[in-house]
C-alpha cells in the first residue's frame, strides 16, 4: 500500500529491511537517491576533484617565479605572464568550486527533501499501533534532527571525504616518489588516528544522545509548565517549578561537559597525529638529508606535501563522525519506513459499495502491550438507526468504536461490514463509509469553516451551516469575532471542550457517510444540549447506522437500542424502558445520574 503511495508521490520506495547492519540499511535508503541524482553527483564530484588538482598547479607557478627571481632571470614579460596565469587559474578554480557547491551541497538538500517526503507520506499510512509506540515528538525529531545529520553527511561529509581521499593520494604519491620508506613511516601514525576516531566517535554519539534526551525532557517540562501556568501559580509553585527546571538544566550542563570531554580529546587528536608524522619527517628525513640520501629540496618538498595532508587528516575524523551520525540517522529513519500498518491491506476492490451494516462475531481484542483483553467475545449486529452504548470506564465501549473505525487490527472472521470480513476489504474502503467522532478532538490551526469542512474542503457554506446546526454549535460560531471565518487552534480562538466536540460532530456529519460513530464524543457537552443533539440526529441520520457511546444515560432514552457493556463483554441490550426494568446496573446508574446531573443544567444551559 505504501509502495503505491510513494510511487504516486513520484519517489521510489526504499525497501528497508530489518536485517543487516546499520550501514546496509543506510545504503538501501540512499541507493535510489544516488541513482536518481547520479548526473548531478558525477559532474559535482568531477568539479571537486578538478579543484583539488588545479590547486596543486598554483604553487608550481609560484615556484617558477621564485626560481626565476633567484636566478635573476625574471625580466621582461615573465612575471606579468605568470601573474596572469595565476589569475586565470584562479577564475577556473572559482568556477569549479561554484559548480561542486551547487551540485553536491544541492544534492544533500534534495536528499533531505526526498527522505522527508517519504517519511511523512509513510507516516500518514501508519496506524494507532505505531503511534502508540512512538510519540509525535520522537517522530518529528526524525524528520528534522536526524535528517539534518543525513544532510550534513551527504553534503559537507562527501566533500570532505573526497577532498581527503584525493589530496591524500596525490600527496602520498609525491612522497612515495621521493622516498618510499620515509613516506611509509610518515603515514604510519594514520591507522592510530583511525582507531582513536572510531573508539571516541562511538562515545561521542552515545553522550550526544544523552544530551539530546535531556534537552527534550526540558522542552517537555517547559511546555507542560507554560500550558498549565495558572494552576502552577495557584499552587504558588513558581519557585519550586523553577528549581525543578534548574535541576534539569544542571543535569543538562553535566551531560554536555561529559560530551565535551570526549570531543576535547577527539578533535585535537587528529592534529596531534599530524604532528607526530611531521616529527618523523623532521627527525628521520632530517637524518636522511644529513646522510645525503635525499636532497634538501626533497626534504622541503616532503614537508610541503605533509602540510597538504593536514587538512585531509583533520577532515577524516570529522568526516567519520558526520558519516556515523548520518548512518545512525538513516537507520532510525529506515526503521520507521520499514514499519508496516498492523492492519491488513488487501488490494482495493473498487467494485464494492458498502451500505453500512456492521456485524461482530465473537470479537475479542487486546491492546498491544496489555494482558487484559479490552473486548471479549462480542457478537452483535448494527443496522439502520441509533444504537447507544453504555458502561463503566474500561468496559470496552471506546475500543468497540475504534475497531469498527479500523484503527486497530482485528482477527479474521470477527468483524464484518455488509457481511464481508473487514480483513478482506481495503481499510480506506471501510473508512470511507464511516464518520467518526473521537473523544479527544483534534482542531487544526485554521478557520472554523475549514475545520468543519475537513473531509470535504469543497463543501458549501450552507452545507457547513446545516451540520453545525445539527451539532448545536451554529449559534456559538456566529457569536465569534469572525463567525465561521474565526481562526481556531494554536494561534486562534481557544474552543472549550464542548465546542471542540460539537465541532468534531459537525465535521463528521458533513461527510454524510452511512455509518456514524460517536465515541464518547459528547462527554464535554452539557446534558440538555446532548439531548437536543441526539434528537436532531434522529432526523438527520434517517436510514443510516449510528453508534453513540455515552457516560450519561438520559440522552439515550431517545435512541432505538442501547447496549450495556461490562468488563469487555456485552451484558445487556434493549430499549431504554426495557433496560430500566430488566437491568439492575442500568437502572441504578440512571437513577444516580438523574440526581447528579441536575446541578449541571443551569451550568451549561445556553452552551
Amino acid at each position: 500500500m505504501s509502495g503505491e503511495r510513494h510511487a504516486a508521490a513520484g519517489v521510489t520506495t526504499p525497501v528497508a529491511a530489518t536485517f543487516g547492519g546499520k550501514a546496509g540499511q543506510a545504503w538501501r535508503l540512499m541507493r535510489p537517491l544516488l541513482l536518481r541524482y547520479r548526473w548531478r553527483l558525477t559532474v559535482g564530484l568531477a568539479a571537486l576533484i578538478g579543484v583539488d588538482f588545479l590547486q596543486l598547479l598554483v604553487p608550481r607557478l609560484v615556484k617558477r617565479a621564485v626560481d626565476a627571481l633567484a636566478a635573476g632571470t625574471a625580466s621582461g614579460p615573465l612575471l606579468p605572464r605568470l601573474a596572469g596565469a595565476i589569475v586565470g587559474l584562479a577564475l577556473l578554480i572559482a568556477l569549479c568550486r561554484f559548480v561542486w557547491r551547487s551540485l553536491i551541497l544541492g544534492f544533500s538538500r534534495l536528499v533531505e527533501r526526498d527522505i522527508r517526503e517519504w517519511l511523512f507520506s509513510h507516516l500518514l499510512t501508519l496506524d494507532r499501533v505505531f503511534f502508540g509506540r512512538h510519540t509525535v515528538g520522537a517522530t518529528m525529531a526524525l524528520a528534522t534532527n536526524d535528517l539534518t545529520a543525513v544532510q550534513l553527511a551527504a553534503g559537507m561529509g562527501v566533500v570532505a571525504a573526497v577532498d581527503a581521499v584525493v589530496m591524500t593520494i596525490a600527496a602520498f604519491g609525491f612522497m612515495l616518489y621521493i622516498h618510499p620508506l620515509l613516506a611509509l613511516l610518515t603515514l604510519a601514525p594514520m591507522p592510530l588516528l583511525a582507531l582513536i576516531t572510531k573508539v571516541l566517535s562511538a562515545k561521542v554519539h552515545q553522550r550526544f544522545h544523552k544530551v539530546q534526551e535531556q534537552f527534550s525532557r526540558m522542552t517537555e517540562f517547559a511546555r507542560s509548565t507554560f500550558s498549565f501556568i495558572q494552576l502552577y501559580k495557584a499552587f504558588t509553585q513558581e519557585a519550586a517549578q523553577a528549581a525543578r527546571f534548574g535541576r534539569m538544566g544542571e543535569e543538562y550542563v553535566r551531560d554536555n561537559l561529559r560530551l565535551a570531554t570526549v570531543q576535547g580529546v577527539l578533535f585535537p587528536a587528529s592534529g596531534l597525529v599530524g604532528h607526530i608524522s611531521l616529527l618523523i619527517v623532521v627527525f628521520y628525513g632530517g637524518r636522511l638529508t644529513i646522510a645525503g640520501a635525499i636532497t634538501t629540496g626533497d626534504f622541503v618538498a616532503f614537508i610541503a606535501y605533509l602540510l597538504m595532508l593536514t587538512w585531509p587528516m583533520m577532515a577524516l575524523g570529522w568526516v567519520f563522525n558526520l558519516f556515523q551520525r548520518g548512518v545512525i540517522a538513516l537507520d532510525r529513519i529506515g526503521a520507521v519506513l520499514a514499519a508496516r500498518p498492523a492492519l491488513p491491506a488487501p488490494a482495493a476492490d473498487g467494485s464494492i459499495v458498502l451500505a453500512g451494516t456492521i456485524g461482530l462475531r465473537g470479537l475479542s481484542f487486546t491492546y498491544p502491550g496489555q494482558r487484559q483483553p479490552a473486548l471479549r467475545e462480542v457478537g452483535v449486529e448494527f443496522g439502520q438507526g441509533i444504537t447507544g452504548i453504555v458502561g463503566r470506564t474500561g468496559a470496552g465501549k471506546s475500543t468497540l468504536c475504534q475497531l469498527i473505525a479500523r484503527l486497530y487490527p482485528v482477527a479474521d472472521g470477527t468483524l464484518f461490514v455488509d457481511g464481508r470480513d473487514v480483513n478482506t476489504l481495503a481499510v480506506a474502503a471501510v473508512r470511507e463509509r464511516i464518520a467518526y467522532v473521537p473523544q479527544e478532538v483534534t482542531v487544526f490551526s485554521d478557520t472554523i469553516a475549514r475545520n468543519i469542512a475537513l473531509g470535504d474542503p469543497a463543501a458549501s457554506q450552507s452545507a457547513i451551516e446545516r451540520v453545525a446546526r445539527t451539532a448545536a454549535i451554529h449559534e456559538e460560531i456566529l457569536a465569534m469575532p469572525q463567525g465561521y471565518q474565526t481562526r481556531v487552534g494554536e494561534k486562534g480562538v481557544k474552543l472549550s471542550g464542548g465546542q471542540r466536540q460539537r465541532l468534531a460532530l459537525a465535521r463528521a456529519l458533513l461527510l454524510d457517510r452511512p455509518v456514524l460513530l460517536i465515541d464518547d464524543g459528547l462527554a464535554a457537552v452539557d446534558l440538555e444540549t446532548e439531548q437536543r443533539i441526539v434528537l436532531a440526529l434522529r432526523d438527520h441520520l434517517a436510514g443510516r447506522t449510528c453508534l453513540i457511546v455515552s457516560h450519561r444515560l438520559a440522552p439515550l432514552q431517545y435512541v432505538d437500542r442501547i447496549l450495556v457493556f461490562e468488563g469487555g463483554r456485552l451484558v445487556a441490550a434493549g430499549k431504554h424502558a426495557e433496560l430500566l426494568t430488566q437491568n439492575r446496573f442500568y437502572a441504578t446508574i440512571y437513577a444516580f445520574q438523574r440526581m447528579e446531573e441536575a446541578g449541571e443544567g443551569p451550568g451549561h444551559a445556553a452552551a
Binding site: A9, A94, L124, F228, I229, F245, R392, S445, L511, G599
Partner: protein, 611 residues
C-alpha cells in the same frame, strides 16, 4: 497567510541598529564568568602559539642542523634529536592546551546559558496571566530551549575564536607593513573589495538564513499538528491532500536552502579568487621590487604565507556570521521577554501575611479581559467564613472569571475583591494563592512520586498525610499503584486516570489546609464509581472552609449555602436551592427541564448512593 499553515507564524525581524545594545547585554551575562572567559582567551592564545611554534621549530631544525654543513655530522644528529624532543613537547603541550580550551569553553558557555535559561524561566513564571493569555505555548518553550541553545553556540564556538582571528589579522597587517610597506599598500587595495564583498554576503546570508529558520519551524509546526491529528486525517481520508500541502512546505524550504548554497557558492570561491589576486600581485609587483633590488626573496615567500594566513580567518568569519546572526535574533527575542514586566501591580509594601479567616467579598466588581469586552458587571456578593457558594450559569457567563479575580490572576477594572476585608490589590498574589486551595478540571503532575505530588514541597507528618489521603479518597488508588505512595507518576512514570487526578487535586488542597477552597467541578469522563469517590472527597475538602464552587452536580448545589446564578456577567439570582426553586426564575426553569417528574421520590435513592 496560507490556509492550513498548521500553527506556525514567526514574529517580526530583528531590527537593525540595535545590535550594539544587544551585544552589551549579552556580554553582561558573561560578566560573572569573566575569569573563565579570560582563561579561555589565554588558552586560545596558547593553542595558536603552539600551532605557530611547530613550523618555526621545523625551520630551526632545517637551518641549524639539517642543511648546516658547517657543523660536524654527530653534532648535527644530536642537535636534530634535541629539536625533535622539543617538537614532541610542543605538540603534546598543544594537545593538552587544546583539550583544556574545549572543556573551559564548554563549561563557561554552559554555565552562562544555564544562568540565562534559569533567569528567563523564573521570569516567565512571574509574569501575569494576561501575558500567558496571548502567548502560544510553543513560542515560550522555544525561548527557553532553542533560543538559549543558539546563544550557547555563539558563546562557545564564536566569540573566543572571532576575538583571536581579529587579533591575528591585525598582527599580519602590521607584519606586512613592516616587511615592505609599498607592497603592503598595494595589497591593501584588496581590502575594501574584500570588506564590501563580506558585507554584501553577510546581508544576503542573514536573509536567507532567516528564511531557512522560518521554513524549518514551519515544517515542525506542520508535522506537530498533522502527526498529532493523524488518526483524524486518516479517518477523513485527507492523506493525499495533507501530503500535497506538506510537499509544498518542504519544497519552499528546499528552495531557500538551495538559495543559501548559491550565495555561499559565490562568496567562498570569490574570497579564494581575491586571495589568488593577492598572490598574483605579490609575484608581479613584488617580483619587480626584487628585480629592482628593494626586496629579498625571503620577504616575498613570507608575504605569500602571510597572505594565506590572512584569508583563512576571513573565510571563517563570514561562516560564523550566520551563527552570530541566529544568536542575535534569539537574544533579541529573549531580551524582549526579560524586559516585559508583570502588568499586575504588586504593592511596594504588601501587608504582612495574616492567616485568612476566609470572609470573601466582591464589591461592585466589573472586569473584562480585553478593553471594551466586559465579562463581569457590577458583581457584588459576600461569603462568611465557612460558607459554601455555588456559581451556576452558562458557558461564558463569567464563572471562571470570578475565580480568576479571587486568585488575583487579574485585578478588577472597577470595584474590589476583598478577603477578610482587605483589598486583594494590597496583597502579593503569592500570599493570596498560598491561602486558597484550588481544584480545577485540569490537574498538573510534577515529575516525582505520588507523595511529592500531594505535598508539592510541603512537609507533613505521617498521621496528617494519612488523614489527607483518606479525605481525598486516595487510599484505594495508592493500593493499586506499584510502590504505593512512592510510585513515580507523570512523565517516565505511571499515568493517572482523569478521576484519580481529580482525587490528587483534592489531596493537594487538604495537605495545604487553606481557609478558602475554589472548586471547578469536573464534568466529564468519570465513571459513576469514581464519581462517588469524588463526591466524598468534595465533602471532606469543603468541610470547615469557605468554598466557591462552579457546580455541576445536584449534591454540590444542595450543599451550598447560597447559589449565585450568573448570566452574561451579571448576577441574576441568588439564594439557596430551595429558595431559588420557590422563586420560579431562571434556576427553577432549568431545574424543571431536567426534573419534570419532580424530585421528591428520588431523594431517598440519592442518599442511598451517597452514604
Amino acid at each position: 497567510m496560507q490556509p492550513h499553515d498548521f500553527g506556525y507564524f514567526e514574529e517580526g525581524h530583528l531590527a537593525s541598529g540595535r545590535e550594539i545594545r544587544l551585544w552589551r547585554r549579552l556580554l553582561a551575562f558573561a560578566g560573572p564568568y569573566w575569569p573563565w572567559v579570560l582563561v579561555a582567551v589565554l588558552l586560545s592564545f596558547a593553542v595558536t602559539g603552539a600551532t605557530l611554534a611547530v613550523p618555526y621549530l621545523v625551520r630551526l631544525a632545517v637551518d641549524r642542523y639539517i642543511v648546516n654543513s658547517a657543523l660536524p655530522v654527530p653534532d648535527r644528529l644530536n642537535g636534530l634529536l634535541a629539536m625533535a624532543g622539543l617538537f614532541a613537547a610542543v605538540a603534546a603541550g598543544g594537545f593538552i592546551v587544546n583539550f583544556c580550551q574545549v572543556k573551559v569553553l564548554e563549561r563557561t558557555g554552559q554555565s552562562i546559558m544555564q544562568q540565562v535559561r534559569q533567569r528567563l524561566f523564573s521570569h516567565l513564571l512571574r509574569l501575569d496571566s494576561a501575558f500567558f493569555q496571548n502567548q502560544p505555548t510553543g513560542k515560550l518553550v522555544t525561548r527557553v530551549t532553542n533560543d538559549i541553545q543558539n546563544l550557547h553556540e555563539m558563546f562557545t564556538s564564536v566569540i573566543v575564536t572571532v576575538f583571536n582571528d581579529a587579533l591575528t589579522l591585525l598582527g599580519i597587517l602590521a607584519m606586512l607593513f613592516w616587511l615592505n610597506w609599498r607592497l603592503a599598500l598595494l595589497l591593501l587595495l584588496l581590502l575594501p573589495l574584500l570588506l564590501l564583498h563580506t558585507l554584501w554576503f553577510s546581508r544576503l546570508a542573514r536573509d536567507v538564513f532567516r528564511a531557512i529558520r522560518t521554513g524549518l519551524a514551519r515544517i515542525n509546526a506542520f508535522l506537530q499538528e498533522s502527526l498529532s491529528g493523524v488518526t483524524v486525517l486518516q479517518l477523513f481520508g485527507r492523506e493525499a491532500e495533507t501530503r500535497t500541502r506538506f510537499a509544498a512546505v518542504n519544497e519552499a524550504y528546499l528552495a531557500d536552502t538551495l538559495r543559501q548554497i548559491r550565495i555561499f557558492g559565490v562568496f567562498m570561491p570569490a574570497v579564494d579568487f581575491l586571495n589568488a589576486l593577492g598572490i598574483a600581485g605579490v609575484i608581479w609587483f613584488g617580483g619587480g621590487e626584487i628585480m629592482a633590488g628593494r626586496m629579498s626573496i625571503g620577504v616575498l615567500v613570507a608575504f605569500l604565507s602571510y597572505l594565506r594566513l590572512f584569508f583563512q580567518p576571513l573565510r571563517e568569519l563570514s561562516q560564523k556570521s550566520s551563527v552570530i546572526q541566529s544568536a542575535l535574533a534569539s537574544a533579541e527575542r529573549i531580551f524582549e521577554l526579560l524586559d516585559r514586566g508583570s502588568a499586575m501591580p504588586v504593592p511596594a509594601l504588601p501587608r504582612p501575611n495574616a492567616v485568612f479567616q476566609g470572609a470573601i467579598a466582591f464589591e461592585g466588581v466589573t472586569f473584562g479581559y480585553e478593553p471594551g469586552k466586559t465579562v463581569l458587571r457590577e458583581i457584588t456578593f459576600a461569603a462568611a467564613p465557612g460558607e459554601t457558594i455555588a456559581l451556576v450559569g452558562a458557558t461564558g457567563s463569567g464563572k471562571s472569571t470570578v475565580i480568576n479575580l479571587l486568585e488575583r490572576f487579574y485585578d478588577p477594572e472597577r470595584g474590589a475583591v476583598r478577603i477578610d476585608g482587605i483589598d486583594l490589590r494590597e496583597l502579593a498574589p503569592e500570599a493570596i494563592r498560598k491561602q486558597i486551595g484550588l481544584v480545577m478540571q485540569e490537574v498538573f503532575v510534577v515529575p516525582g512520586t505520588l507523595r511529592d505530588n500531594i505535598l508539592l514541597g510541603r512537609e507533613l507528618d505521617d498521621a496528617t498525610l494519612a488523614r489527607v489521603i483518606d479525605g481525598a479518597q486516595l487510599r484505594g488508588v495508592i493500593a493499586q499503584l506499584p510502590g504505593g505512595l512512592d510510585a513515580r507518576i507523570g512523565e517516565g512514570g505511571l499515568g493517572l486516570a482523569a478521576g484519580q487526578q481529580q482525587l490528587l487535586a483534592f489531596a493537594r488542597v487538604l495537605a495545604r489546609d487553606p481557609r478558602i477552597l475554589v472548586l471547578d467541578e469536573a464534568t466529564a469522563n468519570i465513571d459513576s464509581e469514581t464519581e462517588i469517590m469524588i463526591d466524598r472527597a468534595i465533602a471532606a475538602t469543603m468541610a470547615g472552609r469557605t468554598s466557591i464552587v462552579i457546580a455541576h452536580r445536584l449534591s454540590t448545589v444542595r450543599r451550598a449555602h447560597r447559589i449565585i446564578v450568573l448570566d452574561h456577567g451579571r448576577i441574576v439570582e441568588q439564594g439557596s436551592h430551595r429558595e431559588l426553586l420557590a422563586l420560579g426564575g431562571f434556576y427553577a426553569h432549568l431545574h424543571a427541564l431536567q426534573f419534570n417528574n419532580g424530585t421528591g421520590g428520588t431523594r431517598k435513592q440519592e442518599e442511598d448512593l451517597n452514604p
